[in-house]
Each structure stands twice: as structure tokens, then as C-alpha cells.
């Protein structure tokens, strides 16, 4: 699992995850996700290249979301594939962290 960040207009940070968000993937990105969560107020998590999401991976998304929301910030998920989205919906995470498939709507939700 690789993680990269990109600063976008409007103070938005795009976090690009690439790989499997399983127990190993979650461990690989946890630290950086927590650093981002502690310092950014508008975060777009790009899931387009995430091929797997398990319960351990959910934790890697929910914990930073809690931190960002706790500081009055916003976070959205962008571009999950069908199966990854099924995990998000089954767990109800999508009701806490909005899921978008269009980049423009994802960015608009962070304004």
C-alpha cells in the first residue's frame, strides 16, 4: 500500500492510496494518515487505486475521519471500486464519510 499527498486549491489535501487496504496496508499508512488528520482540515481520500478494503482498513479511514471532524474539518472518499464501496456501505462508513464518484462533487463537498 502506497500513500501520496497532493495539495489542491482551496486548502484541500488529496490523499492518494494505492494498493490493498488490508491489515498490512492499514499498518503501512496509519502513521501518515494520522499526521494528515492532525494537520489538515479538508481532506479528499482518493480510493481509485485501492483494490481491497477489509475491517482493518476501515479503521485506517475512520480514525483519521474522527480526528478531522473533531477539529471542525471535512473529509470525503473518492472513487472506490464496486467491492470497496460495498464494504463502505455495509459498515455504514459511507454515512459518516461521504463517498463521491465525481471529482468535482467531492471537491465541492469540501468547500
Amino acid at each position: 500500500m502506497a500513500i501520496a499527498t497532493e495539495e489542491l486549491a482551496g486548502g484541500i489535501t488529496r490523499v492518494i492510496l494505492d494498493g490493498r487496504l488490508d491489515i498490512e496496508g492499514a499498518a503501512a499508512v496509519d502513521l501518515q494518515m494520522n499526521v494528515i488528520a492532525g494537520s489538515r482540515k479538508a481532506v479528499l481520500v482518493d480510493l481509485q487505486k485501492v483494490s481491497f478494503l477489509g475491517s482493518m482498513g476501515l479503521r485506517a479511514l475512520v480514525a483519521p475521519a474522527r480526528a478531522i471532524k473533531g477539529r471542525g474539518g471535512k473529509i470525503v472518499l473518492f472513487g472506490p471500486n464496486e467491492l470497496v464501496e460495498k464494504v463502505l456501505k455495509t459498515s455504514g462508513i459511507d454515512t459518516l464519510i461521504p463517498v463521491h464518484h465525481e471529482l468535482q462533487s467531492a471537491l465541492a463537498a469540501l468547500q
Binding site: R20, D22, I23, E24, F52, L53, G54, S55, M56, L58, R59, V62, A63, A65, R66, K69, L83, K86, V87, T90, S91, G92, I93, T95, L96
Partner: protein, 152 residues
Amino acid sequence: MTGNGTDEAGDRLALRSRLSDIARLRPWIEGLASRHAIPENVQFAINVCLEEALANAIRHGYGGAPDRPLIVHFTTPSAGYFVFAVDDEAPRFNPLDAPELPPLSPREEIRIGGQGLRLLRRFADSLEYEPTPAGNRLRIGFCAAVPAVRPK
């Protein structure tokens, strides 16, 4: 329950009760998928369910104690039907009796975890629990769509 690894046929995976050991699931499932032509979407479901079942056994069944045994057995009772049995030696507990938590809602504080049974029920095609002399067995079944055989 002894051994640490896969058996000769590769249909059995022995793990210890460490979360880091769950990482061994992926290559094992990939090997099974290659040999048994398990479709990608079924592999995804298998990974979701086994990761969850093993993590639950480690965290709750064994209470985080390391080096306790966990064995996953793979069988194919019929074409396109794949069953994984997860055996532990933890105190008796039927996870299927546990109430399924409602999905997280926007009004409540964000909780982490607690959604495992929901994931198991949505991604598995069958779930069966049985107590064993040593502990617990959870059987998790998955169906792959089998193409209809066309008459020649």
C-alpha cells in the same frame, strides 16, 4: 491442533494468534484461487470474511494472547462452492448469536469496529458455527457463479 504452515495440498493454513499473522492469508488465498479458479469478486469476499473472523478470534476469543493456534481449512464440497473452516481453541463463543450492530449513523460518534458480523453476513454466502472439543469452528462458505453447461 499442531503445525505452523500449510499442508502438502495447501488446503490448510496454520497461524498463531497474532494480528501480523493475518498477512499470511493473502498469498494462501491467491494460491487457492489459482488452483481452483476462484473469481476475483469471490476472492475479495473471502479476504474480507477471513480477515474479520481471524481478527475477532485473536482479539476477543484469545483476548490478545499471542501464540495460540488458529487453523483455517479449505474445502470445495461442490463445484463453485468454497468453504473455509476457522478453528480456534478459545472459550466457547458463537459469533452468530451476537446481535448485529446497526450500521453507523451520522448522528452518533464515530465508532471503530463493531461492524465485523455485518461484514461477514453480507460477504459470505453461508455461515455455520459449531463448538469443538478444543474450542470453536466457524464455517464460512462462498458461491461462485458456475457457467451453465451448454449441450454440444
